[in-house]
């Protein structure tokens, strides 16, 4: 009986204000909560909660400093910063949201945007942006803003952006007398360079066994993994299949790709690069900081090799949004507008924390640490990129695809068979995605 009552309370408590509110007035709090804190009452002290993932104490200090800038401009608002590791953050956030104790300011990744946005975890920000012309939203990189939008509305303000690029180990290239990767590498010249540097236990390339690392090659060949409206999977089609075959050959035919000995390690490929035993790998500019610290060799970046595709790399980033059930949405916006304002970005850029989403701060970022030398390529790559399109059930989908693709990398199973297998499971998942989309409109 007690259990019944308790579970009923879950059923109903989550029910209040559950439909994503599309009210455009910024001061309204949803869920029928008290409205004593009306608009214009800016004198009372408000403490906001903000959760963001960090990987080190230094990162934590950076965000805390950023948060303190809010109080400098709005003395009545303080931002309490809470943090966890990246994977823990995503473990906790759904539980927090489900129990109604999510933070006021929610940090969000572009790759998870559909999953959360479609289930009402973020407040649309356009009304707030319109009210604040000083915010200068136009200085933000268009594609990352798009990646953090949903149904045409901006759901989070990005702080970084990253197109996938190619990192390479200059020392290895020098050692074997192979020319560096250049800006117009096609797959053949990539393969030659990989072969040239695969000697003495070193490898030309290392791949992480996830779909994210495969997409640039698929796109680079003019193919795709699903169609524009996300209703059909396209991975089994010739152009995508060729790309996957090319990667499979790197492992099994040409043997230039390092065998993956630690599939459970998300950073296996990065650590392989740090060890100096790998000549090239794909990653985003978000890893500049780590490579600077951990690599004992000269390195630089180049665009991802292209084989005729129009776009050959994807873009992703993260940002901050507002929880729709927060009792202080106005204040939360004020905080965000400070942290993600021009000043906030200048501060972030000096820390070299992440490639800035605001174009005006790129120069400051470069001055903070000039490595890699080819940093201008990031902006160029971003221009020739598009956001990695994901679905509302992307977690499940990508896990399925990754595990199927594993059969190619680890068991050398025939590529077309595996891709056909993927299609059989991908299409039903896309159907479900469409269902979720239509039921949330």
């Amino acid at each position: 009986m007690l259990a019944l009552a308790f579970s009923l309370s879950i059923l109903t408590a989550c029910g209040s204000g559950s439909t994503p509110s599309n009210t455009s007035s910024g001061g309204q709090t949803s869920g029928g909560q008290s409205t004593e804190k009306a608009q214009g009452d800016t004198e009372e002290k408000v403490q906001l909660r903000w959760m963001m993932w960090t990987g080190s104490d230094e990162e934590k200090k950076v965000w805390e400093n950023l948060a303190s800038k809010v109080t400098e401009k709005y003395p009545n608002i303080t931002v309490k910063f809470e943090t966890d590791t990246f994977s823990s953050y995503w473990d906790k956030l759904p539980a927090l949201i489900a129990s109604g104790s999510a933070p006021d300011i929610v940090s969000m990744q572009s790759l998870r945007m559909p999953t959360f946005a479609t289930r009402g975890a973020l407040e649309p920000l356009d009304p707030y942006i319109e009210k604040t012309p000083d915010f200068k939203i136009e200085n933000f990189d268009k594609s990352i803003l798009e990646a953090l939008s949903w149904n045409g509305k901006v759901m989070a303000i990005p702080y970084d952006l990253g197109p996938y690029i190619l990192y390479y180990n200059k020392d290895l290239f020098d050692k074997y007398g192979v020319p560096y990767p250049d800006e117009n590498m096609d797959w053949n010249s990539f393969l030659e360079r990989a072969k040239g540097t695969t000697q003495d236990g070193n490898y030309g390339f290392v791949l992480r066994n996830v779909i994210d690392q495969v997409v640039p090659w698929i796109w680079g060949n003019g193919g795709d993994y699903m169609n524009e409206d996300a209703t059909k999977s396209l991975m089994h089609e010739p152009k995508a299949a060729e790309a996957v075959q090319f990667l499979s050959d790197l492992f099994h035919k040409h043997k230039v790709a390092m065998p993956i000995t630690d599939p459970g390690n998300e950073n296996f490929y990065r650590e392989a690069f740090y060890s100096g035993k790998v000549a090239m790998y794909l990653d985003g500019p978000w890893n500049f900081g780590n490579v600077r610290a951990k690599a004992n060799f000269e390195w630089d970046i180049a665009p991802v090799p292209n084989n005729g595709g129009k776009v050959n790399t994807w873009i992703a980033g993260s940002g901050f949004g507002i929880f729709p059930k927060s009792k202080h949405k106005e204040e939360a916006w004020k905080a965000i507008s400070v942290m993600m304002g021009e000043e906030g970005f200048e501060y972030l850029a000096t820390t070299g924390r992440a490639f800035p989403a605001r174009s005006t701060s790129i120069e400051t970022f470069q001055k903070a640490d000039p490595r890699p030398a080819g940093m201008d390529l990031v902006t160029k790559a971003a221009e020739k990129s598009k956001p990695l399109a994901v679905t509302t059930n992307w977690q499940e989908t990508q896990l399925m695809i990754n595990r199927e693709l594993d059969k190619i990398w680890f068991n050398n199973e025939p590529v077309q068979e595996v891709l056909n297998n993927i299609q059989k499971q991908f299409d039903p998942l896309l159907e479900k995605h469409q269902q979720i989309l239509s039921s949330s409109k």
Partner: protein, 318 residues
């Protein structure tokens, strides 16, 4: 369900009757005993009901709902269970993986623990030191232990393959080979947990009166006979406890798979509880995850009940 076998024949002669309320005198004695029972139980059961039993019951109710965490639950009846058994090939795969794990890990663990326990009990000096050394892995945080073992399973320079190399065996790409990844996890798990059972068995062995062994030796029994006819029966309660708990926990294997291989490669180490975690925390299908958990419960419960019934035959509480 009847009373549990080991608690039959436990009462003092005057209370032979097993049914509840009979005549006045017996009723009085019985009520007082019942009251004592509840009083003894009270401190623990209050906390137990509130903090352990209640969430369990809620998860049971949730298994009949679709709950995507960020939106309210929706009643789904038996849909979750239907989908699980008829629409979910991955479920069957994780059951297979888990059974493989249980089938190899449990005997491996119990046998090694027993050997170590017996061995340590033959030592005259230094029992405490060896016991500490073999128990040390239990004390290590799983996160740290899993990471160290990842180093050790590295095919070229890791300790495991180096060790095998001393015997002329060329070890595989443990964590990267779907055929060997689960075995790697089993090995690591035995290392981590064998100390638990070893300590329990040692406690059991050390409570066997030496007089029994003396008597047996005088009667001419050799070591093997003494083991079968004295040691085993006398530690059967401890052995029973060890086996039951090891089976229950091994069906729920998660931490090691999560940290060492993430369920891969190609789903080779995806276990039932990993699958529950994925569904609940990554796909936000909390209702579905609960239904998987309750199917697992059914399996574990059935296995445990079988063990409890069979214990009559070999477990000796006298």
């Amino acid at each position: 369900m009847g009373s549990l076998p080991e608690t039959e024949n436990r009462e003092v002669p005057q209370r032979e009757v097993k049914t509840k309320f009979n005549s006045g005198v017996r009723k009085q004695k019985f009520n007082r005993e019942a009251l004592s029972g509840y009083l003894f139980l009270a401190p623990n059961i209050l906390g137990f009901l509130a903090f352990t039993a209640l969430p369990v019951v809620v998860s049971f109710i949730l298994s009949f709902y679709n709950w995507e965490m960020l939106i309210p639950p929706m009643f789904a009846g038996l849909d979750n269970f239907k989908n699980l058994f008829f629409n979910d090939p991955l479920f069957l795969l994780v059951i297979k993986n888990t059974l493989y794990y249980v089938g190899v890990y449990v005997p491996f663990n119990i046998v090694v623990a027993m050997i170590l326990a017996l061995w340590l009990c033959t030592l005259t000096k230094g029992v405490a030191i060896y016991r500490t050394l073999f128990f040390l892995p239990v004390l290590a945080p799983t996160v740290a232990a899993a990471f160290i073992w990842k180093f050790m399973f590295e095919p070229k320079v890791g300790f495991v393959n180096t060790f095998l190399g001393w015997f002329g065996v060329s070890g595989p790409n443990w964590l990267g080979d779907p055929d060997f990844a689960m075995l790697a996890i089993i090995i690591m798990s035995v290392w981590k947990m064998v100390g638990y059972n070893m300590v329990i068995f040692i406690a059991g062995i050390q409570s066997i009166p030496a007089s029994l062994y003396e008597a047996a030796k005088i009667d001419g029994a050799n070591s093997w006979d003494r083991f079968i006819h004295i040691t085993l029966p006398m530690i059967s309660p401890a052995l029973f406890f060890g086996v039951v708990m090891t089976v229950i926990t091994s069906f729920q294997v998660f931490d090691q798979a999560y940290i060492m291989t993430g369920g891969g490669p190609a789903n080779a180490t995806n276990t039932i509880v990993m699958y529950i975690y994925e569904n609940g925390f990554q796909y936000f299908k909390m209702g579905y995850a609960s239904s998987i958990a309750w199917v697992l419960f059914g399996v574990i419960f059935a296995v445990t009940m079988v063990q409890m019934k069979v214990q009559k035959k070999w477990v000796n509480y006298d």
